[in-house]
């Protein structure tokens, strides 16, 4: 089976030359949740943004391919790319407040998508928007449709955004730290919802997160990043096992757990970071 | 306050202003002739590069035969005095009230803010003309008018910036650190508001120059015999078809002064911000 998303040797660099993503390859199959894990500066957000074609001005892709069902997104004409985004590739953003337009009602923002991408009439779109809100387990969908974003709680807004993301039945969803802004009990509900929706629709999900706990609970496969390089890639069981690479294991040991006493916590040893930084430097010397 | 680094905007803007200031200070020495001296034989004499020019009247003469260059030089004095004195006084009044409103909150804030609202609902130029008409013409009246009208500009900006700063946790940290209220205002809040105030000051000075020009244009500034840029424009307007230069040169100078101030303000904005400065 061909993967839905196939990234090969992706290189992302600052316009001034420094590399941010160093020849990263990964693939996401249909129905699979692929975790993209790393600390800040590891390059996970850059990869997600490169897939969506929304890199900041000062940053560009300098190498590799990003194939979505065979088509290289990096080389598509802008018009074709625009027709894919939203319809075939959707985003669940990090901040549920800025992800919605504060000046427009939920109904307008939901039906826009359905009418624009799927060519539905106003009436059809409203019916479908209601159905979608029910699917993301919103209790009074009629009422929510007539609200403005600031009138909803954070968890509710994220549900709306998930409904919008799934509305056009996309093949790929990029979820960019979708629960960092939420309370932990709400986070669990949202994670559950994303998995349920993803399983029901057979969607491939690229799940960006810094939290190994979330990875363990929602991902099938994982790519661990450090300084824009792949440190480790594999099935979730391998990553969580004792056979994981030193960095992944060190990251696990540095993650506090409520079920373990304080002395089980060990900060990531400096040499682990240093070795990976040295590898990044060697890459830069070989690829100026 | 930390040392600001120079950038080209500061150099160019500040340099131009420095030259203007030196000209104003040394006006009696620099002016080739007495700006008030009339010579009807030289009436509407063109500047030096045109035919019929007189080398002693480099920028030509006005309808009364007065030397345009000398008048321009002397007129820099009232312009810059108004800019500096009115600018600084406006800054002091507006900033003080803005800090007070933003930091104290409560009734004080309500009273000051409503005052600002009422104040800004009057058209400023008309208010200025009314004020000057009320307290009489002269440089001091122009300054008073500008201060009384434009303090709201500082007050608004400083108040909202102060409010934003008081939301910051370093204010709480200062309370925990035992700093008194007044000390927090002056040592923690003010340094963070000051760069904005300084940038605003350059803007206010350029506005003051324009207001002075407008008031002298309508004859409400200094007495009509001493030269002002606005007054020169007013006189030049009547002979615009025969002698464009009488009006063009003071306009050019106002333009240069305002541009220089804005450039300086822009430069200071980046220079005074420790984050942008990097």
């Amino acid at each position: 089976m061909n993967p839905v998303l196939d990234i090969r040797d992706l290189r992302v660099s600052l316009r001034r030359g420094a590399h941010l993503v160093r020849d990263v390859s990964l693939s996401v199959d249909a129905g699979e949740v692929h975790g993209l894990v790393g600390e800040s500066g590891a390059g996970k957000t850059m990869i997600a943004r490169a897939v969506l074609g929304i890199l900041p001005d000062a940053i560009r892709v300098t190498g590799g391919t990003v194939r979505f069902r065979g088509e290289d997104l990096l080389r598509l004409p802008p018009k074709r790319l625009r027709s894919l985004l939203g319809r075939e590739i959707a985003l669940i953003p990090q901040d549920p407040l800025t992800g919605l337009n504060p000046a427009r009602r939920i109904s307008a923002q939901m039906t826009d998508m359905l009418r624009h991408h799927l060519g539905q009439s106003r009436g059809e779109a409203r019916v479908n928007a209601l159905r979608l809100l029910q699917e993301v387990q919103i209790r009074d969908p009629e009422q929510v449709l007539d609200r403005y974003p600031h009138e909803l709680s954070g968890g509710m807004r994220q549900r709306v955004l998930i409904a919008i993301a799934f509305s056009a039945e996309p093949s790929l969803i990029v979820a960019d730290e979708p629960t960092t802004a939420l309370d932990v009990t709400v986070q669990k509900q949202i994670l559950r919802l994303i998995r349920q929706m993803q399983e029901r629709h057979g969607t491939a999900v690229l799940f960006v997160t810094h939290d190994l706990g979330i990875v363990a609970k929602v991902c099938h496969r994982v790519t661990v990043l450090h300084t824009g390089q792949v440190v480790e890639q594999g099935g979730i069981a391998d990553i969580m096992s004792a056979h994981a690479t030193p960095f992944t294991r060190a990251l696990m040991d540095a993650t506090p757990r409520y079920d373990q006493p304080a002395d089980a916590l060990h900060p990531v040893p400096e040499h682990v970071h240093q070795e990976l930084r040295a590898a990044a430097r060697r890459f830069d010397e070989a690829n100026p | 306050m930390t040392g600001a680094r120079l950038n080209w905007r500061i150099v160019v803007g500040g340099g131009a202003l420095l030259v203007l200031a030196l000209i104003a200070i040394a006006a009696p020495l620099l002016a080739p002739v007495d700006p008030l001296e009339q010579d009807l034989f030289l009436e509407l004499l063109p500047p030096w590069w045109q035919a019929d020019a007189d080398p002693t009247r480099a920028l030509g003469a006005d309808s009364l035969g007065r030397d345009v260059l000398s008048r321009l030089i002397h007129a820099a004095r009232p312009a810059l005095i108004v800019a500096v004195v009115a600018g600084v006084l406006t800054m002091l009044l507006g900033t003080a009230l803005g800090l007070l409103a933003g930091y104290m909150g409560g009734m004080i804030d309500v009273v000051i803010s409503r005052m600002v609202d009422i104040w800004t609902s009057f058209p400023p130029v008309l208010l200025a003309i009314m004020l000057v008409a009320l307290i009489g013409t002269g440089l001091h009246s122009v300054i008073i008018a500008i201060v009384l009208i434009d303090w709201t500009r500082f007050c608004r900006v400083v108040r909202s910036e102060t409010l934003a700063q008081t939301e910051m946790e370093y204010i709480d940290a200062a309370v925990i650190g035992g700093l008194k209220r007044g000390a927090i205002l002056f040592r923690e809040v003010l340094p963070n508001v000051l760069p904005l105030v300084i940038v605003l000051l350059t803007l206010e000075m350029s506005i003051a120059i324009i207001v002075e020009a407008i008031l002298s244009f309508v004859g409400l500034s200094v007495s009509s015999d001493s030269p002002t840029w606005g007054g020169m424009i007013a006189e030049g307007r009547q002979v615009i078809h025969q002698a464009w230069w009488v009006m063009a040169f003071p306009m050019g100078l106002i333009l240069i002064a305002v541009l220089a101030l804005n450039l300086l303000g822009d430069g200071l904005k980046t220079a005074l911000d420790p984050v942008l400065r990097r």
Binding site: D183, K188, D211, K217, M240, L251, P267 | A174, G178, N192
Partner: protein, 520 residues
């Protein structure tokens, strides 16, 4: 034992809700904290966890007097600092410092690191001159693992982790005894976070610091806190030894909170699991049909009114004489002696729509255990308090289950957990009730009946007029029982006395027993 370094007593805080209220009308006040009490001993650390809106941050700020409490008391080292003005407060500030959540906004961008750290040293009078203060700042920066070379830098030149070390250096520069740390690692990467936690642990040990550690992250709290307090809606729902609370939470909300933390462990069932389906559940009185025993006087009588006020659909007011007539039409008097098997069987028939059973009936004779002439009294206490309650549970558990589930509430006493010399037999019967309640809870775990044990301290009723104070008002006890049921607390400890004893037993059992021995 020396008094706790920090004591908070019944603290409430109301703040104006700035999002509402018009231009001229005052914004309405919202209750942020509703009656918080806590003790923190020197050298210990207390974790405060909760979600957004729980009031945890406000509590931290109220402790260091960044917020002025509406009522209640804060005692620092025995001194009441609740209403000190800022000048008087300054004398205490060097001993209680704070580390802030956002190292970006808590460091003045226009001041050098050295000045920032030296500021409190100077203003709080540890050093009189600037140079000495800066020297102390260098020392603090070294101690915070940053190095004094950073003193000349500006905050924006530092990384997030380094900035948080500056925040720590500033807090320890005055060598305080208490530090309130508010979400200090929430914005940091895991590897930086682990370093900061390790640093704080070292400082706590080396400097003998007491720590109030506020976080939404239970795992982070486990690293630093000996004891933990779980907050919800401005109240404390559970408090105890950190390891105990996280391993065996008593409160349903705590359980839900713990369950929601994704541990880095593969568990395919986690996403679909729902906490709180076993054991105690949250029970709201609204719309329930409630049977209360012992309603002729004392707490039972108060219960009836409170249940009506809370919206119960029907209240069976049971008493030995059946004299519970009431103005409210929802009250049905029932004649029921809990020591009579026939009465109980009859009640189970006539009150077949009961969904909540409150076993309140009880007697006390206040007798010593070894007084041989008091054997009958001991037996009577056991018959009413223990067997009466047990038989009611046996009769009504199937009734409640048949009505789609509900709750059983057994009124025990704090005496179930500590025995007083002059009333040994009563204490023993209450201990039996408490133990039995836990057993019934386990047996009913999967049958939709929540089981609550209530362990109040002395209550001010005509039955307890021999007891010395402090005694709680019955209405307060009842209100706390209903609130505890709503929050799903398995064991409800109404009143300060009960909470204090319960907390004390967990912290220092012998001390409490010694103290209680002299109570009567």
């Amino acid at each position: 034992m020396s008094p706790p370094l920090l004591q908070v007593r019944d603290l409430t805080l109301s703040l104006p809700d700035r999002s509402r209220g018009g231009m001229f009308s005052k914004p309405p006040m919202v209750d942020i904290l509703r009656g918080i009490s806590l003790d923190l001993r020197a050298g210990h650390s207390l974790g405060i966890v909760g979600e957004s809106g729980s009031g945890k941050t406000s509590l931290g700020r109220a402790i260091v007097r960044l917020y002025q409490p509406t009522s209640g008391q804060i005692l620092f080292d025995g001194a009441d600092i609740t209403t000190l003005d800022e000048a008087a407060m300054r004398a205490h500030r060097r001993n209680m410092q704070m580390i802030f959540q956002d190292p970006q906004s808590s460091l003045n961008p226009r001041r050098r690191i050295g000045e920032i750290v030296a500021q409190p040293v100077l203003t709080l009078g540890l050093e009189q001159d600037r140079r000495a203060a800066l020297k102390r700042a260098d020392l603090a920066l070294d101690r915070a693992g940053l190095g004094h070379a950073f003193a000349r830098r500006y905050p924006h030149e530092l990384s997030g982790g380094q900035r948080q070390r500056v925040g720590i250096a500033r807090a320890i520069a005055t060598e305080p005894r208490l530090i309130v740390a508010d979400e200090i690692v929430s914005g940091l990467d895991v590897s930086t976070q682990a370093q900061i936690l390790a640093l704080l642990n070292d400082l706590k040990r080396d400097m003998g610091l007491s720590l109030v550690f506020i976080s939404h992250d239970l795992s982070v709290v486990r690293v630093l806190a000996d004891r933990v307090m779980v907050m919800l809606g401005g109240r404390v729902v559970e408090e105890g030894n950190t390891a105990d609370v996280f391993q065996g939470p008593r409160n349903a909300y705590t359980r839900q909170l713990i369950d929601a933390v994704p541990l880095p462990v593969i568990d395919p069932d986690w996403l679909d699991s729902q906490p709180g389906t076993e054991g105690t559940r949250m029970v709201d009185i609204k719309g329930q049909t409630v049977l209360v025993t012992g309603t002729s006087r004392g707490i039972g009588k108060v219960f009836v009114d409170a249940l009506l006020a809370t919206g119960a659909a029907k209240v069976y007011a049971a008493s030995r004489k059946g004299d519970g007539a009431h103005d409210d039409g929802r009250v049905v008097p029932v004649k029921l002696d809990v020591t009579s098997a026939a009465d109980i069987a009859a009640a189970a028939g006539t009150c077949a729509d009961t969904t909540v059973l409150i076993n309140n009936a009880g007697i006390n004779f206040n007798t010593k255990l070894l007084d041989t002439d008091q054997t009958d009294a001991a037996a009577a206490e056991m018959t009413t308090n223990y067997f009466g309650t047990l038989n009611m549970c046996r009769a009504f558990a199937p009734v409640i289950e048949g009505n789609g589930g509900g709750a059983i509430v057994n009124m025990a006493s704090i005496l179930a957990r500590v025995n007083l010399p002059l009333m040994g037999s009563l204490c023993a019967s209450k201990a039996a009730v408490y133990s039995m309640t836990q057993g019934i809870r386990a047996e009913l775990a999967t049958r939709g009946v929540a089981v609550f044990a209530v362990l109040p301290g002395a209550v001010d009723t005509d039955m307890t007029k021999d007891f010395p104070p402090p005694k709680a008002a019955p209405a307060d006890i009842v209100a706390e029982v209903l609130a505890g049921m709503k929050a799903g607390e398995a064991d409800i400890y109404p009143g300060d006395m009960a909470k204090g004893v319960s907390g004390g037993l967990a912290a220092d059992r012998p001390a409490v027993i010694a103290e209680m021995a002299g109570y009567v």
